[in-house]
Assembly symmetry: C2
Homo-oligomer: 340 residues x 2
C-alpha cells in the first residue's frame, strides 16, 4: 500500500513483459497498437509513474540538466524560469542547486555532479577559468553571464561592454561628464562591467573622470557606496551601478541624504530585474534578455549531448538600455549645491 506501483505491476496486470511496458511508456517503436492501448490503460488505472532514479540508472542517457544558481538573485530567478520552460519543451529534466551562505560554488556543483547531470549550466559562476575548464573536462559546461577564456566551456553572455557603453552614451548624451561607477565586488561578472566602464569612459574622452567606488551586488553595497558619494565634495552627476540591487542601494542612500534622483544625480543599474522596474525606483537599466540567454544555454548543452558538437560555443547577446525615470540631465551648477 505504501509502495508505488512498479513496472512489474503494470506488466502483470496487462499480461505482458516489463520490456513491452517500458517500450510503450516511452513511446518507443515496437509494441502493437493493441498492446499500447492496454498498457496505457493499465498504467493509468494504477497511477503508475516511472521512477526517475531507476530510469536514470538504467538509461545511459539521463536527460538531466544541472543548474547552479544563487537563489537570492532575482535575475537568476528569471533565468531559471526560462531554462525550465525550455528544458520542459525538449524533454529534459532540470535539477537546481543553489549557493547559500554555507554552500559555495564547489559544493553546489558537486551536488549536481552527484546527480550525474549530463550537463551543467552555471549562472554567473565566480570560479576561475581554470577551474571551469577542468570541470568541462568531465561534463559539458555552459557558463551564463560571463566570459571564460580557457577550456572547453560554452559561454552565453551579454556583451557587457556594449551594455555599459550604451548606458554611458545615454548619460553623456544628457550632458553628464562626472560619471562614477559603483563596483560589484570581486566576481567575474562584476569585473567585466567594471572594465566596460573604464573602456567606455576612455572612448568617450572622459578618462580623467573615471571614478570607481567599492561596492557589491547587494543593496547594502550600494548604500555604502551611495553614502560615500553623497558626502563627497565633488559629487558626480551620474552614477552607474554594477547591478540593479546595487543601484537601488545607491539611490536609497542619495534619497536619504536629501539628494534628488534624477534631479541632482542620475542613476543607472544593470540587469533590468523585475525588482527594479516596478518599485518607485523606476530605474534606467540594462536589459539582458533572460529568455534568450536561457534558450541559448539549454541549446548549447543539448547540442553537445544530442548532436555531438565538440567545439566550443560562445554566444554573445547584445543587451539593450531601458531608459526609465532615474536618469535625466545633470543639474545646473547652482542647483547642484542644494543637496550638500
Amino acid at each position: 500500500m505504501d509502495q508505488r506501483p512498479r513496472l512489474d505491476d503494470v506488466a502483470a496486470r496487462v499480461g505482458v513483459s516489463t520490456a513491452s511496458v517500458s517500450l510503450v511508456l516511452r513511446g518507443a517503436p515496437g509494441p502493437s497498437a493493441e498492446t499500447r492501448r492496454r498498457v496505457l490503460e493499465a498504467a493509468a488505472e494504477l497511477g503508475y509513474r516511472a521512477d526517475r532514479t531507476a530510469s536514470m540508472l538504467a538509461r545511459r542517457r539521463r536527460h538531466l540538466l544541472g543548474v547552479m544558481l544563487d537563489i537570492r538573485s532575482p535575475f537568476h530567478a528569471e533565468l531559471v524560469e526560462e531554462i525550465q520552460a525550455e528544458a520542459d519543451r525538449i524533454g529534459y529534466e532540470v535539477v537546481l542547486s543553489t549557493l547559500t551562505r554555507h554552500r559555495d560554488e564547489d559544493r553546489a556543483i558537486e551536488a549536481l555532479l552527484d546527480f550525474r547531470c549530463e550537463a551543467v549550466l552555471l549562472l554567473g559562476p565566480d570560479a576561475a577559468d581554470q577551474r571551469l575548464a577542468s570541470l568541462a573536462a568531465q561534463v559539458p559546461v555552459v557558463a551564463i553571464g560571463r566570459r571564460v577564456a580557457t577550456g572547453d566551456v560554452d559561454v552565453v553572455r551579454p556583451a557587457d561592454h556594449v551594455g555599459v557603453a550604451e548606458a554611458l552614451a545615454h548619460l553623456t548624451g544628457l550632458g553628464h561628464h562626472r560619471i562614477a561607477f559603483v563596483d560589484g565586488g570581486r566576481g567575474v561578472v562584476a569585473a567585466a562591467r567594471r572594465r566596460g566602464y573604464r573602456d567606455g569612459m576612455r572612448r568617450a574622452g572622459l578618462a580623467d573622470q573615471i571614478r570607481i567606488i567599492a561596492g557589491d551586488h547587494t543593496e547594502e553595497g550600494g548604500i555604502r557606496a551611495g553614502r560615500l558619494l553623497a558626502a563627497s565634495p565633488d559629487r558626480p552627476t551620474a552614477v552607474m551601478a554594477s547591478n540593479d540591487r546595487c543601484a537601488v542601494g545607491v539611490m536609497d542612500a542619495f534619497v536619504r541624504a536629501g539628494i534628488e534622483v534624477p534631479g541632482q544625480v542620475s542613476v543607472v543599474g544593470y540587469d533590468d530585474s523585475t525588482l527594479a522596474h516596478l518599485v518607485h525606483i523606476d530605474l534606467t537599466t540594462v536589459n539582458q534578455d533572460a529568455a534568450a540567454q536561457a534558450r541559448h544555454a539549454v541549446l548549447a548543452a543539448v547540442q553537445r549531448l544530442d548532436e555531438g558538437r565538440k567545439q566550443r560555443l560562445e554566444v554573445v547577446l547584445n543587451p539593450r538600455l531601458v531608459v526609465r525615470g532615474s536618469t535625466g540631465p545633470p543639474p545646473r551648477p547652482e542647483d547642484q549645491s542644494l543637496g550638500r
Copy 2:
C-alpha cells in the same frame, strides 16, 4: 577516460571487494582501520565520488527532501537557504522544484515525486487541503506558511492573525482608525492574512472601518491598490498590505501621487523580506523567522522518516512586528487634505 571511476575501480586498486569500499566510504562499521586508510587513499587518488543515482536506487533510504517553491519569491529564497543548511547538517540532500509561468504546483510536485523524494516540503502551497491530503497519503508532506485542515499533512506556519494583530495594535496605538487592507489574492496564505485583518479590526472595535482592497502578492498589485486608495475621497490613514512586495507597490503609488509615507499614510508589510528592509522603503513589517520555519519543517520531515512519527504535527510560530520608518502617527485633519 570520460567515465568517472566506479566502486569497482576503487576496490580493484585496493584489492578488496566493492562491499568493503562501500562500507568504508559511508563510514559504516565493519572494516578495519587499515582497510579504511587504504580505501580512503585510493578513493582520493582516483577522485572517486559515489553516484547518487545508483546509491539512491540501491539504498532503501534516499535521504532526499523535495522542496517546492516559487523561485521569484525572496521569502522563499530565504527559506530555501535555511532548509539547505539544515539538510546539509543532518545529511539529507535537497532537490528544488520551482513554479514557473508554465509549470503549476501539480507539475512541480510531480517532478519531486519522480525523483522519489522521501518527503516534500511545500512553500506556501495553494492547492486545496484535499489535494494535499491525498498527496500526504503517498509521501510525508510538510506545508510551510499555511494552515491545512484535513489529512496527515504536517504544518509549519506563522500565526498570521498574531502578526496582523500586532501590526494593527501598533497602528491603533499610534492613533490610526481608518486602516485599510490590501488583499493578497486568491492564495491560501493571503486568505489567512485577510482573515487576520478582519478579526483584528473587529477585536479592536473597528469593525465599521474594515476596508479590503483587491490586490495580489506582487508590486503591480500593490500599485493598483495604492492608486485606488490615493484617489479615494476617504483615504485611510494607514494601509496594511498582504506582503512586502505588495506594500512596496502601495508605497510607490502613494509617493507618486504626492502622498507622503508615513507623513500622510502609514504602510505596513508582511514577510520582512530582505528586499523591503533595505530599499528606502524602510518598511514596518511582520517578521516570520525563516530560519525557524525551515528548521521546524526539516525536523518534521526527518521525524517522520527517521523516527517513525505518525501523528500530524503543527508548529505555529509567533511572528513579530518589526517597526521601521513607514509607520507614524496619523496626520492631523488639516494636514490630511494636503495630499488630495
